[in-house]
Symmetry: C2
């Protein structure tokens, strides 16, 4: 038995697994800002890196946004593998907007615009598996944004947010 | 929008997310045998590969064992990253036995004996993230098994099962 096995628990036994600060998570995993402030548009979202051992070749991250929060609208060459873990919200994927709920699986292909939004009254938490080596996300320019907003359901999803 | 985005839902909205056959899962993901019958000892466990796109470099699998079921007692060079998703059970990791419950995170290091067992009255389901390129698991020989059984809590965990 050479290595020290590790087992991390969420804050509490009872559901919802919410810590003393009102945030769901794992008490031995750092809760980090989603991205560097000012690097890209986002709102009320935190990031926990659950697994990132180099041998895995990939990482499993947990993102949680507060009610009304959202991730960055972006695309990139690398793919994402997402499982919704708690709460409810909506997901833009390509030119489609769909509600999401716990245990939904979402494959985000290369170069597909995507964004997650928590419902107005509920947080949204999801796992995201990603290759450890990946390219930097691209934000929409004015033309890309106009093309997205030309789709009525996407325009409704984006609302008033300034995303580029 | 070149690719077809994909979103899979578990069988039902309501918790627990159990299908008409009484098994939790995703209805567009094949439910496969855990391993080839006779290849290694295991009991009452099914496997679903949730994500395995080559670009990811890794796979996310969901394993669920019925009440009283168990995975194979094994070890290997590759590492596993596990999140318990539902039910309850017990996990052997190295020389330690610990109860596990939803949202527990378990890092299984290289060459560490490990096995999951569902409680007598509850299923146990967990996610397992793994590198797409990995070595074949090793089963304990008589000496390794004797060394494990010399630890009282491990002997109690293994019970009467024939594991080598």
């Amino acid at each position: 038995m050479t290595a020290t096995p590790d087992l991390l628990r969420p804050f509490r036994d009872a559901s919802p697994d919410v810590g003393p600060d009102g945030v769901f998570g794992w008490d031995r995993v750092a809760r980090m800002p989603y991205k560097e402030e000012g690097a890209a548009p986002f709102k009320a979202i935190a990031r926990q890196v659950l697994f990132a051992e180099p041998q895995l070749g990939c990482e499993l991250r947990y993102f949680e946004m507060d009610a009304g929060g959202h991730s960055t609208l972006e695309r990139h060459e690398h793919v994402h593998a997402v499982m919704i873990l708690r709460g409810e919200g909506t997901c833009l994927l390509g030119d489609r907007v769909r509600p999401v709920r716990p245990f939904d699986l979402i494959s985000i292909p290369s170069w597909t615009w995507h964004q997650f939004r928590a419902s107005a009254g509920m947080p949204l938490g999801f796992l995201c598996m990603v290759n450890a080596r990946r390219d930097k996300p691209q934000l929409p320019d004015a033309a890309a944004l106009a093309a997205l907003r030309a789709i009525p359901e996407v325009a409704a999803f984006l609302g008033e947010s300034v995303v580029a």
